[in-house]
């Protein structure tokens, strides 16, 4: 299962570095690809422009999605994913806020889970370990060939 890629969408370089450290510490062996804007997230998933090479930028099984993103907001990226990609793609929102409106909108747009970025590094380690235990180790993967690629590029 370990070859299944993860896409981390995070614009804040500090949060990005901390999350990468936490994933590494949780012994996540899957390749983690990163993009820093909502637009790049969509272009990556479309396999467009600089992300055209699917070997280098494979479709992820798991997307960790921040909500406050430049260019295209996270909630719009989520909508794009649910309109255009197979539902087997797991989207875990990783937001700095638990604003009711964001949680509701994300749920209506079918994120698989909504998590709030914790305050301390230890809690972030714990969270990364939980993500690994649940979404990577326990959840049943649908492998990329069966998962299908993009349903329809909108």
């Amino acid at each position: 299962m370990t070859e299944e890629p993860i896409l981390l969408v995070e614009d804040n370089p500090d949060d990005l570095a901390l999350m990468m450290r936490a994933l590494k510490r949780a012994q996540v062996a899957n390749p983690v690809h990163t993009v820093t804007t909502g637009g790049d997230a969509i272009r990556y998933l479309k396999g467009e422009g600089q992300f055209a090479d699917r070997k280098r930028f494979p479709l992820p099984y798991l997307i960790l999605l921040d909500l406050k993103l430049p260019e295209v907001p996270g909630l719009e990226v989520l909508q794009w994913i649910r309109t255009n990609l197979d539902f087997a793609v797991v989207v875990v929102v990783l937001s700095s806020s638990a604003e009711a409106q964001d949680v509701i909108t994300a749920a209506k747009r079918h994120c698989n889970s909504y998590l709030v970025k914790p305050d301390s590094l230890q809690e972030l380690y714990d969270l990364a370990a939980l993500i690994k235990a649940y979404w990577i180790d326990r959840n049943q993967w649908i492998r990329e060939p069966q998962r299908g690629r993009i349903r329809a590029v909108g």
Binding site: D14, L18, R21, S97, D119, S120, L121
Partner: protein, 266 residues
């Protein structure tokens, strides 16, 4: 003819008066609307500011922790001590920001009220508290507690704040006792929830201002850990639920905080 003239003049004056009255009313409405807009903007501003502050704070805490994890062995005691202080200060600021966020959320959000059973809620809170801080206090509940009309999450926040407040302001060396009770205030048709403690108490001159933001009164072993927003949150939430808060205190002997809320509908 004179009479008719007078009557016409009077009618004109009345019409003029009516017109002025209408203009005044319209201006009051406009001003009120402007003020309401300003308040909404201010609240959403404080929300987004507090929110944006938390990002850099997470980074400060995170990277200070990483320094401790990865490089502690290369630092001497003083160096490690400074790192600890950065961490603690960042945590404290984070609590401050979170409290400001909670306050602004409570001021903005709608708080729909339903019947809440305090007989169920208070023991739950006390249990949770005991799990976090066993042996910190002897807590007594005067069952049956009267049910109230409240927004449960906000009421939980209020009672938790009062409980942690009592713990923070315990008298050194005196085992802390906290006592929950309710009483129907017949004249006001409100239920008074009392949270009484035997802590350090509050001086009479300080009793009014402790409910204002950042007005933590420093006395006794007073809480370096507090943010001074907890009681402002309680006040804002209770008032938005149609109630009121207050305190009766005997300095040096203890405080009795009360939250008055509408009784449950029969």
């Amino acid at each position: 003819v004179k009479v008719i003239q007078n009557m016409t003049q009077q009618r004109q004056r009345e019409a003029e008066l009516e017109r002025l009255h209408a203009t005044l009313e319209q201006r009051v409405q406009e001003r009120t609307h402007e003020l309401e807009q300003a308040i909404v903007q201010l609240e959403s501003f404080s929300y987004s500011i507090s929110h944006d502050l938390r990002g850099p704070l997470r980074a400060m805490q995170g990277f200070a922790s990483i320094l401790i994890e990865d490089y502690a062995s290369q630092l001497d005691d003083t160096g490690r001590h400074y790192l600890e202080r950065i961490s603690v200060a960042a945590q404290r600021m984070d609590r401050l920001v979170q409290d400001v966020l909670t306050l602004s959320r409570i001021q903005r959000a709608s708080l729909p009220c339903v019947t809440v059973s305090l007989d169920r809620l208070v023991p739950e809170l006390v249990d949770q508290h005991r799990q976090l801080h066993p042996d910190v206090a002897r807590i007594r509940i005067d069952h049956p507690l009267l049910p109230v009309q409240a927004h449960e999450p906000s009421l939980i926040q209020c009672l938790t704040n009062l409980l942690t407040n009592a713990v923070k302001f315990a008298r050194p060396g005196v085992p802390l006792e906290i006592h929950f009770s309710t009483e129907l205030l017949k004249g006001d048709d409100l239920v008074r929830i009392r949270v009484r403690d035997n802590g350090v108490g509050i001086r009479r001159e300080d009793q009014d201002r402790i409910f204002s933001i950042f007005e933590q009164v420093r006395n006794g072993n007073a809480a370096s850990e507090g943010t001074g927003i907890g009681l402002a949150i309680v006040k804002a939430a209770v008032e938005r639920m149609g109630g009121r808060v207050g305190v009766v205190s005997d300095f040096g002997k203890g405080s009795s905080f009360y939250v008055d809320l509408p009784p449950a509908e029969k």
